[in-house]
Subunit: 731 residues, 2 copies
């Protein structure tokens, strides 16, 4: 009897039978019709004498933009006709009966239902009563009763399930319950509420709340910590279809409905779902440079296009790199009412499982051994912070939480990260879920230089403890300015608190390299230089000899085109210098870098990375310096014309000049703006060297107020060309 034979056929689809009493409700899109008449036990014969009881002739959700609910709940910006409210805060509906309501005699309830198989004890079926003698988990009160019209005030519990609820009005009769028919116009979206203290996403700062929940215009920082570039982004959380797309993401994850009131669980699921790994999530990552079958990560200008495409195709969207993940995740957070922001960590340790070490291997002469150096430090990495209390942790770790949707190659094998308490990271309490250890390493790792011996062993020659996590930035609330939040993540370099925190983290098994550097007397720095893409420039190496003797340094200088992940694409410069330094002097070496050397090797993010390492002849000291030089990219020019008024025709004119000596082929331009213009794309098969383009596009503002148009230009030879223009739309 062969064992193999038994297992030859594919297994049948496994059902929940025998395993659970019923499948777990995990889709907001599911709905079960509620009975229009639900009888109590035995019924009298003949027609029921129901006409003495209330009948409902109309239910008005007061869902207009000028009705009471939306402005009070900060939800009037959503391009969505349904009622949208925030939990823990009262909203009103108007019920019209067939005759005047008699409080002493008539009994009715407003019932809220979400998902399939709604149940009272699961919090998916909530009847709300207006009479004082009935306890409800949600607040209910009679606001007004005039003739046959009653206005009911309803306060959803501050920890209720977030999503799309259906509403029924139910009248109790002695024979049973009489209900309104199901009706799409009576659906209500209930969101998280950062305005209410009882909600676990409550954010007590007025300006931050406006920025991190209601602002659709984003700025994402990249480049180098001392030469920062910016990308505009349209989060579009209020755009038509985006709210439904965000709920679809949770359905696609089959997240149990009952968990959808907990921001810890919602953000954790979302961090897994933003990337396509494991779970057919929203975005496919691609760092390879070939984006033929999708949109280049650098080409996107906003989240709307991505989310709508995902919700309609139900398939992952191509392609993303870290800032695209972070931007779409930010839309998700703000759309559901969880305060969210994007942060950029300059020099981010990566893919290392929470080790506090990035290894760089030098050969016997002090030159980097590229084959054996497998770790990389990302020039920058973007992730999200979301604001919430953490009842699952001891007190003190609520507030901003890191969530990261960029798929990491971790041992846990799961492409998700967080929520990890920023406070826990700062204080080294890295044992707390979720993934605090990993984020701690991203901002605190050491760069360890090893020298390789002949027999294959390595000797530590230098440790740089301040390179990684050099600067953490986010956009300031209410204005287009950078805000340095490095000190949210760590104590100042070299402070006694910093030392204590690193020791605390070591208690949890994250060990730093113990290394006392030999006392060196030669210092080296590569000076910053601002370079426009296509320009030749001079690289300056500043040497200082602090000893009272002459020193000779045998230097290797390597210039590489690198991805923003720090991975080298190709080397365009390699030089070997012997530098002689007199006692107690400084000296600057200049290396010319012609544009043709790097231009033909460029990859999309256009960062040049220089490493200089060498050995002092007299004492064997290893000197080294690194410098990322971002190439400044030309910008798009944007102008608007026309009367800036809601529903009036306007024009945007996008201009670009190809000032390079090469043609740009297969060029995509994108423009969009929150509340004014949906994502719009234009394709040019060629922009010849030296020529200019002018693209004029019509739009009709949908909403009054301050807003912005953001545009990008993208082609294989030139990426990251952005531009923007602000405008104020009159009502």
């Amino acid at each position: 009897m062969s064992v193999e034979k038994l297992a030859a056929k594919p297994p049948p689809k496994v059902s929940h039978r025998g395993r659970t009493a019923a499948p777990i409700a995990s889709s907001n899109a599911d709905s079960e019709e509620v009975l229009e008449f639900e009888p109590f036990g035995l019924m009298p014969r003949g027609p029921l004498p129901l006409n003495e009881f209330l009948d409902i002739t109309n239910v008005d959700m007061l869902r207009g933009k000028n009705d009471v609910n939306k402005p009070q709940h900060n939800s009037q910006m959503y391009a969505n006709d349904s009622l949208i409210v925030r939990r823990g805060q009262e909203f009103q509906i108007k019920v019209t009966f067939d005759r005047p309501y008699k409080p002493t005699k008539d009994q009715f309830a407003v019932e809220f239902v979400i998902g399939g198989s709604p149940q009272f004890n699961k919090g998916t079926y909530i009847p709300v009563f207006v009479t004082k003698d009935r306890q409800s988990t949600w607040g209910g009160r009679m606001v007004d009763s005039t003739d046959s019209v009653v206005t009911v005030g309803i306060t959803p519990a501050a920890d209720c399930i977030v999503g799309k609820w259906r509403i029924y009005v139910a009248v109790m009769t002695p024979y049973g319950i009489r209900r309104t028919k199901s009706d799409e116009s009576r659906e209500v979206y209930i969101l998280f509420n950062p305005w209410v203290a009882a909600d676990s996403v409550f954010l007590d700062d007025y300006n931050e709340r406006l920025e991190c929940v209601l602002n659709e215009e984003g700025v994402i920082y990249h480049g180098a910590f001392d030469d920062i570039s910016e990308r505009p982004w349209n989060f579009g959380q209020f755009d038509y279809g985006v709210l439904d797309a965000c709920l679809f993401i949770l359905d696609k994850a089959a997240m149990p409905i009952t968990n959808r009131g907990d921001p810890v669980k919602v953000t954790r699921i979302a961090s897994a779902m933003m990337n396509s790994r494991d779970d057919d999530g929203v975005l496919v990552g691609n760092w390879g440079g070939d984006y033929t079958y999708g949109v280049a990560p650098t080409a996107w200008t906003g989240s709307t296009e991505i989310l709508l495409q995902y919700a309609s195709s139900k398939m992952p969207v191509c392609y993303a790199q870290c800032w695209v993940y972070a931007a779409v995740f930010n839309t998700f957070l703000r759309c559901l009412g969880i305060p969210g922001r994007i942060v950029t960590n300059f020099f981010s340790a990566h893919d290392n499982n929470g080790d506090l070490r990035t290894d760089i291997i030098l050969d016997g002469n002090g030159k980097i051994d590229k084959i054996r150096t497998k770790d990389s430090i990302w020039n920058y990495h973007c992730w999200n912070e979301s604001y919430m209390s953490r009842p699952d942790l001891p007190p003190g770790f609520g507030g901003w939480q890191v969530v990261d949707a960029t798929p990491q190659e971790t041992s846990d094998g799961m492409y998700r990260c967080g929520p990890a308490s920023v406070q826990a990271i700062k204080h080294g309490h890295i044992c707390f879920p979720f993934d605090a250890r990993f984020v701690f390493a991203e901002v605190n790792s050491d760069v360890v230089f090893h020298s390789r011996n002949r027999d294959g062993t390595l000797t530590v020659v230098k440790v740089n403890t301040s390179h990684v996590g050099r600067l953490v930035l986010t956009k300031a609330p209410g204005r287009d300015a950078r805000r340095d939040i490095t000190d949210n993540y760590k104590f100042p370099e070299g402070s006694p608190e910093e030392r204590t925190v690193l020791e605390k983290a070591e208690e949890y098994g994250s060990e730093h390299e113990k290394f006392t550097p030999p006392k060196g007397d030669v210092e080296l720095e590569i000076l910053l230089v601002e370079v426009r893409l296509g320009d030749s420039f001079e690289l300056k190496l500043e040497f200082k000899n602090t000893s009272d003797q002459a020193r000779t340094v045998n230097m290797y200088i390597s210039g590489n085109v690198v991805f923003y992940t720090g991975v080298t694409s190709s080397e365009f410069l390699f030089a070997n210098h012997e530098v002689t330094l007199n006692a107690l002097t400084a000296r600057t070496e200049v290396i010319k870098v012609p544009s043709k050397d790097y231009m033909r090797k460029l990859v999309e993010q256009a960062n040049l990375h220089f490493i200089a390492t060498g050995k002092v002849k007299e004492n064997g000291q290893i000197v080294s310096a690194m410098r990322v030089i971002p190439l400044h990219i030309p910008r798009l020019s944007l102008e608007v014309s026309g009367l800036a008024k809601v529903s009036e025709k306007m024009l945007v004119i996008v201009k670009f000049t190809n000032s390079f000596k090469f043609n740009l082929e297969d060029v995509f331009l994108r423009v969009e703006g929150p509340g004014v213009m949906p994502p719009t794309i234009k394709h040019y098969s060629m922009i010849t060297a030296g020529s200019s383009l002018t693209w004029t596009e019509t739009f009709y503002p949908r909403r009054a107020g301050q807003t912005r148009l953001m545009a990008s230009l993208d082609c294989r030879a030139l990426r990251q060309v952005y531009g923007q223009v602000d405008l104020t739309v009159e009502p």
Copy 2:
């Protein structure tokens, strides 16, 4: 320009290019040839004058069963010709050179390499030197040097990577390194070492170490807490091919090689890989009763067959339920040297995301509402404990850790659980990773009875705080006896410590139902009765009236055939009794249960579940009682005959009588025994009612010592028929 069009084609396979400098080594099966001669820089012209340096003529791994290594490393039982040692403890190899070794002049190293792209700084390339002036991460010493033969003692670091290493002997010459050729006979498996204090899996108890690492014979408890049944199991961790299968599981998970020294990470990965969900892991779960395309979970007698089939087919094996997951996981743990044991938790709360509540809904009359009651309590659930320190947690949470491979339907969406510190669970520190909250709920949930009101709301009427986690059992070390380890998981019911722990857990957001029960005066118990499968029996309900007035109880008694998951398959008994109780009296009601009522509705695990609920007329008190009655199954009889000596022919005779009134069709018998007999299967198309079978099978003991043969009989109409016989094999 259509957005959809851009995404229409499937995305190309995403490479690591641009993302990481090199793919992460994640397969033990990968190997890279090491150079036989690795030159140092420039070479002299002409043939190298290498003959003055050592050449290696032989490397003896001392891997025989009677050589020094295996007995000292407790690895002689593995049916594997390679050297198998445990880390943190010295083993020896013998190197023969072409001429006598000169300590002052000759320099050589024993190099250890694992996985692809071995690297010194990643711990995947380890050169070991015997001279004192060279520091090694692993210990090396010259044990003996006689003429041209040297015996080298090597002590792998106590935290080194666990898996299959390759060994090279390398001789240093001024021109380069000369190495032995790669050779399969020089592979060495390095395992975890619970015998050594420096290893994080060190277990200080001699008897527990023998049981939880070296014992292949297991007993798995099931049934009911007060009527416990046993299953024998052959873990087979030393069987031919099992060690390689366990390493294959980690390769299949693409677990980075560098993490494979950490038992926390290894067990977490394994808990995900034991089930097929997400990752094509080892076993497909099936609770549905239809096992046509695989082996019924009840039919397996050991882990070997499952692991070998998985490693050869590389496809999940059908089918498992909780004890199969736990048993195969236990084999994995013991095989790699991590102390492991199986525990059974009687009345295990499940599938509830760490909520401390299981809801049972009664209608207005006190009868269970089966449609609305969606939660279930598993009659029992099996998981594993593994022993290790937890450097990732604050001090005090090392020791036994819960790991559970049965796929749960949790919000985290990942089918894995643990390691969760048993100590943390006992003390309510449920914020610590991994999944302590979930296991805490499995042993501490309340059973909350709700009464459903006419308008759909629910009122709590009774809370049972002692039902769940009633008893936690494991096998005692060194003997076939049960060991009650409930107090490892929780303080005694009703103790002040228990109260404190539940409050502690509430601080982390796991709230208990707050409920003060109305003072009741009627008590009800369903008495235990032992029933053989196929017998009619009497169910006894004992009522006690502690009041000084008469009481009338309107009772509903429901008898159900249930899966061990507590999910009802079908109801075979429903009775409605009115019971009148005089003041201060007890009274027993008897209900007859004819065998034909339940026999035709049986599902595989043959548990009958009775629930009695009712309402006291006089005061509205809800009384309720539950009882699981496991049906006792006939056993297989096993006898052995022949001379019990290694390699001598022996016979096992398996006998079974079908004492039922029905035929058994399509019957599978299995028998196996550690070190004596591989899994052997026999098929009978029919065993008619009343008939007997005798199956005689030959076997040749492979190994001396105490051992056991275990057998099962399985068919659709009758499952869980087990039998065993002990024997002692002489050398």
